[in-house]
Amino acid sequence: MKIYSLLKDREQSFFQKSDHGFDFVIVGSGAGGGLSAFLLSQYGHKVLLLEHGPFVKTADLSQDEAKAYPLLYQEAAARKTSDGAITILQGRSLGGSTTVNWTSSFRTPKTTLKFWQDEFGLKDLREDSLAPYFEVCEKLLNIKPWDISPNENNEVLARGLKRAGLKAELISRNVLDCQNLGLCGLGCPTGAKQSSLQALLRKAPNVTIVTDAFAHSFSLSEKKKVKELTLYPRGKKSGQWRIPIKELIVSGGAINSAALLLRSKSPDPYKNLGKRTFLHPVVLTGAHFKESIDPYYGAPQVIYSDAFMSEDPRELGFKIEVPPIHPLLLASVLPFGSDQHRELMSLISKTNAMIALQRDGFHPESQGGEVRVDGQGRVHLDYDTSEYMQRGFRKALRVMGRLQFAAGAKEVLAIHRHAKKCQNLSDFEKEVENLSMQAHDLTVVSAHVMGGCAMSLKPEDGVVKEDGSHHHLENLSVFDGSLFPTSIGTNPMLSVYALVHKLCEEKFGKG
């Protein structure tokens, strides 16, 4: 594996050559792009992998949030929906979001796959047909149930669930020799996290990587094929680099992949491109305890509950987990002013937070958002939370407050502009009943961006075919989380890996 930076190595002879004869060019190095590069190099192809963000060596990762976010996240972790209401966390460095994610690993729920079969006719995406790919990916990424005691932040969730008569389920994680630090969101400083970089790219010798390279757009030949890809060094408007394309794989992740296709004016006769972009919108509650929680230490997510995920995905459903809490992350989700904000920050060591991630894309009133690009090629996501979704937010806040009080919380607070701390459950329930669930009032965040280049049987219904290839362009495939026709209904990383493995093997594998 050879790594160049378009920003720093632009003068090197590599960039002066007009054609390197790459069989495949892949845009994006996250779950989808990293695995595609690994597999294609194993099949003996010559692969070029392009990544917008930098390559940061494990030893150079910073545990300082102010340095980590601008380096490792899209828009320095300040990406938002176009109305500013929902904060979107997405990775942008070699390894993509798998470099900064929290390592929770789940297979795609069977209810989701069933819905895809029934509603979208995606008959090939069944539990049994995907099972072998899940197995291989779980091996490649060392995914195993976490067998170390949960940190106190997760323990609160476990206790709350138990006392409410519900089962606390254990999360599997993609780690090897994990030191249980809790710094996953800042990039794992030990190399324990099996990101696409550590688990796959490191072991893919036939791959040439160019980082700090933003794929702006591609041109098309008359034969409806992608001809050439144009890139810019990260953050620059000059220094353009063009690369001829035999086969292009777009793996920029949701929002970004759709944006590349939109900037390139790729054929979209049915106006599906960028539509049905999903977020798993997350709402939060905070609780204070007498004893220390130290929510910044220890594996971030190891306990979860699907007790509020109904079997029928058309009904409201949310998954409950806890997030890691670090100072800047906490400060940025608290919508309160000066005094109140400082008081809550000073309680960080005694704070537990719970998150409820709502599945979107199944109910008629939850059809996701739409990606747009403006005249300058900048990307925007319009995403409205409907009344249906707001009902889900309210229900989730109530449930999380109940679990926190059951676990022994002194006080609980909905993370909402107008919320006050409540010392008992009945006050909390009354308060939640009266709060507006409008975005901007309620803090809503997302770390799970999906869809926008949906798979479909017919061109009328989506952007790519069931095998990931574009409905109208012969040599373009989309292999990432933007393929999903709905949200997944659980943390999506492993679903991206398994689906991409299946598509890549079936389309480009030998035999």
């Binding site: 030893a59 300082d64 320095a76 500013g84 030191q179 953050g235 230490y297 002013g337 900048r378």
Partner: protein, 163 residues
Amino acid sequence: MKLNGPFNQVKLSRRSFLLLGGISGYGALMAYALGPKEEVVWQALYRSWTEGWTPKSASPLKDIEAVLEHIREDKRAELSLAFKLLTFAPTCFYLTGYFFPWKDPYKVSKIIQKWQYSERMEQKKIYAGVAAIINSSFYGRVESYQDIGYPGAPSFSLNEGAL
């Protein structure tokens, strides 16, 4: 609405305000320098937000500029527009209820409170943007850890073979 006076080029449209939403969060590109009038407003808001905690060593403007440097260009332009409005008396009155309150800490804290609870979209959005920038510039500093009781990152060793 079109304004008279020194900022008569500034169109105070609902759209400009709505666009402000995009700035909230911690957000990547060119070096950024604040103008003198903007500095006064930022300084006042920062001091009020971190009152009692502002470390002696703090250089709020430098920290705020460092955060602004990382914000997407279009969103930074929107924020800059908002701050122009906050430094021009009539529009400042429209947004804060005062003509030039930035030298009076009491009024500044009232403004923050008013923005937090406001139902007016433009105030909600300026509030969200200001909060995000100040939080990032303050809580991104190791110096703030002591005030909030965060002990800092745990120690660790590099695993063998990590890239």
